[in-house]
Subunit: 113 residues, 2 copies
Amino acid sequence: MEDLSTMQCEACRPEAPRVSEDEIRELHPQVPDWEIIEEDEVRRLQRVFKFGNFAEALDFTNKTGALAEEAGHHPAILTEYGQVTVTWWSHKIKGLHKNDFIMAAKTDQLLKH
Amino acid sequence: MEDLSTMQCEACRPEAPRVSEDEIRELHPQVPDWEIIEEDEVRRLQRVFKFGNFAEALDFTNKTGALAEEAGHHPAILTEYGQVTVTWWSHKIKGLHKNDFIMAAKTDQLLKH
């Protein structure tokens, strides 16, 4: 199975399919630190990243923002003292697309830089 | 009445008093775009700032972050495509301190720069 973090995020059309339960069972283990949550009836991938202070948290927010701009796919990023909560979902399909799993994997990679 | 945005944010001690209802009636009109919300039984000041895209939103997040670092008082900043939601409260007293109104006023000022 190809490493999610090396894949490209594709343009998401409104008619694109949400990931199926089978796909989730395949994809989720590749981003095990991400929780699948449901908010406003929309499934999302969410992870809390911990840091030592506010500046480090904000730095990670910027790295995640740069990743998002590069991919043309944007998460919600909650920056607080010592932590950043990143949430990915696909607005156009009101749910999870494979793209979101790819972006979650790429976000994990940011920790290594 | 002194302009809130010109005041300094003071170090907040755990025993510092929360703002009284009378103080809120005096302070809130100075930051009329901020809503007083209650989350997890803690009152907070919250405002949604709208922008044209993600990059502008992230730029405002950074300006707010710099303001927070300067004051040594940190909000929650939710960055999304086209908007930033800033929430101020005083963690140590689990509620609103005059500092939070000062920081809200200073956040408003960032829009003018």
